[in-house]
């Protein structure tokens, strides 16, 4: 089957998932404490006016109708108002998304940069001290709550050694953020040639990115180790050994390239880990991203942003998993038949 057919089939599978995600998102929003009409009408509204707003918002309609309205609003990018900032949730999100993106990308870089070599070396040197150490590391990495890892890093690098800046935000106070091009301070300040800002941005990014990276590294290393072990025992690698090819070439040329293909599939899982970790790590480091925004809004009894966050993450998750599947189908034609 060609890639076109596979693409269509996979896209069709996404439709019921998207339906399910929006239904769950709607139910969560529906169960929220507090009356959204009250928020919209303002604190000094009369009961009559609130009832009028309720009618306008369709809150007196049956559930399925309310769901359709919710879906319609969603398609227009309307995520409702935040009662704590008084702005549309979508605008607040857009403003904070680059911070989350910067943290997520940096963590992903750390997780892959350490996780992949660790998995490969563990598989090659199976059952040696290195392998055991790697396994202990990945088992412990999964058991450590990310807020705790973050606090440990803060205690050691900020309080004891004074190497890291205070865990408050993305830049040292008094520094101007660089002109926004990508929204990522590290990239923007480098583009602008603003070295003090770049330095400060990197210093602020280091600990949260390491915290999130450590949490995600474990599953990456584990997966790479497993697929690498499998590949090393496969026939074509045995044939390569038998042909007398140099070990370096067999391991890093033939085996590694094939072992890395299945690793693409866990990118979806990794993304889920990253998004879950974001909310926590952003809170620990007062990182001004969407996760922190959702959690702090809730503290002021403003539950709208957290529902939008949940929905946003789920939609991203669906898209990422779709992209991963398509990518996999592109790399490995056998999948298309499945």
């Amino acid at each position: 089957m060609g890639f076109g057919g596979f693409l269509l089939r996979r896209l069709a599978l996404t439709v019921p998932t998207l339906f399910g995600v929006t239904v769950v998102g709607f139910l969560l929003a529906y169960m929220l404490p507090g009356n959204p009409a009250l928020v919209k009408a303002g604190p000094f509204a009369t009961p009559d006016f609130v009832a009028e707003v309720e009618r306008q918002m369709g809150l007196d309609q049956p559930l399925p109708v309310q769901y359709l309205r919710y879906l319609g609003a969603l398609l227009q990018g309307d995520l409702g108002l935040s009662s704590s900032t008084g702005r549309p949730v979508l605008a607040d999100f857009a403003q904070r998304l680059p911070a989350t993106l910067e943290l997520t990308l940096a963590a992903l870089l750390i997780a892959i940069g350490i996780g992949v070599p660790l998995g490969v070396l563990s598989a090659i040197h199976r059952d040696t001290l290195l392998d055991h150490a790697g396994r202990v590391l990945s088992v412990a990495g999964v058991a450590m709550p990310s807020f705790w890892t973050g606090l440990l890093l803060i205690y050691v690098f900020f309080y004891l050694l004074d190497l890291a800046p205070a865990p408050l935000g993305r830049l040292a106070p008094g520094l101007q953020p660089p002109a926004a091009v990508t929204g990522l301070y590290v990239v923007d300040s480098a583009l602008a040639g603003d070295w003090p800002a770049l330095r400060s941005a990197l210093q602020h990014l280091a600990l949260p990115a390491a915290t999130l990276g450590i949490a995600v590294m474990a599953p990456v290393a584990r997966m790479v180790r497993a697929t690498m072990l499998e590949t090393l025992q496969s026939d074509f690698v045995k044939a390569a050994w038998g042909a007398g090819l140099p070990p370096r070439r067999v391991i890093y040329g033939d085996a590694l390239r094939n072992a890395l293909i299945p690793v693409v599939t866990i990118l979806g899982v990794v993304f889920g880990f990253l998004m879950a970790g974001n909310a926590v790590v952003e809170s620990v480091f007062a990182w001004p991203g969407i996760g922190n925004y959702a959690v702090t809004s809730l503290m002021t009894k403003d539950a709208g942003p957290i529902q939008s966050f949940v929905l946003f993450v789920a939609l991203m998750y669906v898209v990422v998993n779709l992209a991963v599947d398509l990518l996999y189908g592109l790399i490995d034609p056998r999948i298309r038949l499945g």
Partner: protein, 293 residues
């Protein structure tokens, strides 16, 4: 070497004894089992095991570092931290255990019905399962506690909901496999009602993998609970819980009181690690392909 000992025994020991012996052979996971037993016992007997009343301030020693009198130090009010951790363990184990058990029962029933009956019921259950799995588990748990509030029961429900799909999938898959087998056919021919066939004849097949899944899920439930509480979405004072205690300790980092965030977090790490190690070992033991090793 072990094989020789096995052969020497004339009569094969009972299944339970054999299982026990294999588990003991894996020293690390056997240690994990003891650690878990100790933690559970300490939580159960908290009022007798804890050296102090967890809520009683010691005016002589606010923010005392770990020492002979207070092994793990005291907090801002002079409350003994070891006693607080032991008492908080009750909440951790109760909620994680309750959520896991509830999810297991609900998931097993839904999975059994969906797998055995098939048809539209199967479709509905599986689509609902897919929708829940489309959310990263922790993020969904956040959304649920935000929506329904964070009483003990609600937090357990939030954690449980994120777990249900894994049990549904597991049991449904097993049902699809065994429902056409001859013994199931035989049970039907004799005229057993469906409920009896599923409960008595088919479901017991799923118990070993369910135990493995539940053990691993316990670790995950404790992590989720702790993270929710850390964010203020889970357990809140005056109840205490390890994640919430870590959050309290976090605000004391700037005063250098490292023991306040370190030890509650360490309690989480040790407990989760023990559940994960035990779960991994059980999976190796209960997986039929590993039998006879």
């Amino acid at each position: 070497m072990e094989a020789a000992a096995d052969i020497a025994e004339a009569a094969p020991p009972a299944r339970g004894a054999r299982f026990w012996r294999r588990l003991r052979r894996n020293r690390l996971s056997f240690a994990a089992l003891w650690v878990l037993a100790a933690i559970a016992l300490a939580a159960l007997l908290a009022p007798w095991v804890a050296p102090f009343d967890p809520n009683l301030p010691d005016p002589e020693a606010p923010l005392a570092p770990p020492g002979w009198r207070h092994l793990l130090g005291t907090d801002l009010y002079g409350r003994d931290q070891l006693s607080r951790i032991i008492h908080a363990g009750r909440v951790n184990l109760l909620i994680a255990g309750g959520a896991t058990l509830g999810a297991l029962v609900l998931g097993a029933v839904l999975g059994a019905v969906a797998g055995y009956r098939g048809g539209w019921l199967d479709q509905v259950v599986m689509r609902a399962t897919d929708s829940i799995m489309a959310f990263p588990a922790f993020v969904l748990a956040m959304g649920i506690t935000a929506a329904i509030g964070n009483s003990l029961l609600n937090v357990a429900i939030a954690i449980g909901v994120t777990q249900v799909p894994s049990y549904v999938r597991l049991v449904r898959g097993e049902m699809l496999r065994v429902r056409e087998m001859e013994y199931a056919e035989a049970a039907r021919t004799v005229g057993n009602p469906d409920r009896r066939i599923v409960l008595v004849h088919l479901l017991p097949n799923c118990i070993p993998p369910l135990i493995v899944q539940a053990t691993l899920a316990m670790g995950y439930a404790i992590l989720t609970l702790a993270a929710l509480s850390y964010l203020g979405l889970g357990i809140r004072p005056p109840q205490s819980e390890w994640g919430q205690m870590t959050a309290e300790g976090a605000s004391e980092i700037v005063t250098g009181a490292w023991w306040l965030f370190l030890f509650p977090g360490l309690a989480i790490v040790v407990t989760v690690l023990a559940f994960n190690l035990l779960g991994d070992a059980l999976r190796d033991l209960l997986d039929p392909r590993m039998r006879g090793l």
